[in-house]
Amino acid sequence: MTIRIGSLRVLVVSDSDTAKLILKTHDPDFASKFVFGPRQFNVYKGSEFFNAPYGSYWRFMKKLCMTKLFAGYQLDRFVDIREEETLALLSTLVERSRNGEACDLGLEFTALTTKILSKMVMGKRCRQNSNIPKEIRKIVSDIMACATRFGFMELFGPLRDLDLFGNGKKLRSSIWRYDELVEKILKEYENDKSNEEEEKDKDIVDILLDTYNDPKAELRLTMNQIKFFILVSYLHYFSLASLN
């Protein structure tokens, strides 16, 4: 079945046999993802990984994820982070139940996942400044809010390149606010780099910066690619949804 969304034509597959052909048998031939919606407001244009076409940059990043970012010592570190943050959630809930109060589990869960992710990505900064998860969360929610507020016409219609309601402008300014914060964080990392540290103490930002500074790397990462990688990790929390 094909559907038309505005000016976009999409083929919809709803049976598992055809899905198997696409996801398994012909997986490499369908290994790109399409993106819709306006993209001109993204200040990191061209630095996309999660939605990047199936090419050398995407393969490089995927390999980095599998061999470094989500492997070895990192996985052990993640176990500690998850158990620590689950305990923190439990202690909040114990307190609530003692006082006979109700709680909004939705909010508690969002706080939990934000803290887990922040510690995974930039654990060192979080230890020094516990407000970082909250600050990032705020900015990322703003970006989300703008990005989802685009109307139907703006997303799919021929008018999508005109910023009719000023949403694109807001979106761009939120992304710049994020840029400012993450720039500061990355600088702090670079400044702290003086003493050699052990592999097991590294967090995701450390590894990304190592790759950035490695002259022998297969592919030179750009700062924008790093910043955007971090942003999108937050936007989709490792993309249960978006990576699919």
Partner: protein, 222 residues
């Protein structure tokens, strides 16, 4: 606005289903008790592979409420699929939501039945532990289950996400009894509109009261 955080949406959906199905909630708690035994301690990540029913309940939640209901793909070359020509650059949605509620694969597809995943396990020819098989299936080895996508573009964070889900849900079930705020004892599930991942009562919030039944901090808090 609805919660846009996928992991937190999945946590909410699971708690919603468990509060609405007290019998399943009780089974998970019994399973945890049998693993923890008389040691009286909080569950840890290393316990999770001994908790197949908990895992099945989470898997069932993601089957009914996938946070990524449509997978996006685009073809790189011209090819033939089912006898049709598919041009390079064709944009494709794979309807994971539809496939996971297909009555030919899943009996009573709209029902919340974690048991269905425990039965499948016994039928399998593969000689591997339940947990390994579970992880493989999460990653879309079985095209009938696409909560985390599949193939090269499948979800990178599937194992991490599933650990967060199991540990958090397991702890909440072990430590507390939950009641919904208000007169009703069930949470009304409103079907989400659009691309929203979360569709619980009242949009993003899930108000409920915890009643302590096992103190995870034991003597420390006395």
């Amino acid at each position: 606005m609805a919660s846009l955080d996928t992991t937190s949406a999945a946590l909410q959906w699971t708690m919603t289903e468990l509060i609405n199905h007290p019998d399943i909630f009780a089974k998970i708690r019994d399973e945890i008790k049998s693993v923890v035994g008389t040691t009286n301690r909080l569950i840890k990540e290393s316990d999770l592979q001994k908790l197949p029913y908990l895992q099945a309940a989470i898997k069932e939640t993601l089957r009914l409420h996938p946070v990524g209901p449509l997978l996006r793909r685009e073809s790189n070359t011209d090819m033939k699929i089912n006898g049709y020509d598919v041009k390079s650059g064709t944009k494709i949605f794979i309807n994971a939501y539809g496939i996971m509620r297909d009555p030919t694969t899943y009996k009573d597809p709209d029902k919340f039945m974690p048991e269905r995943f425990l039965v499948v396990e016994q039928d399998t020819e593969r000689k591997m532990g339940y947990y390994q098989q579970y992880m493989l299936e999460l990653k879309g080895q079985d095209v009938n289950y696409l909560a985390f996508g599949s193939g090269r573009r499948g979800c990178l964070g599937a194992s991490h996400a599933s650990l967060v889900l199991s540990l958090t849900i397991g702890s909440l079930v072990q430590c507390f009894n939950w009641t919904v705020k208000g007169d009703e004892d069930k949470i009304k599930i409103k079907l989400p509109t659009g691309f929203s991942a979360s569709g619980t009562a009242g949009g993003s919030s899930l108000m409920c009261s915890p009643e302590l039944c096992f103190d995870p901090f034991g003597y420390q808090t006395k």
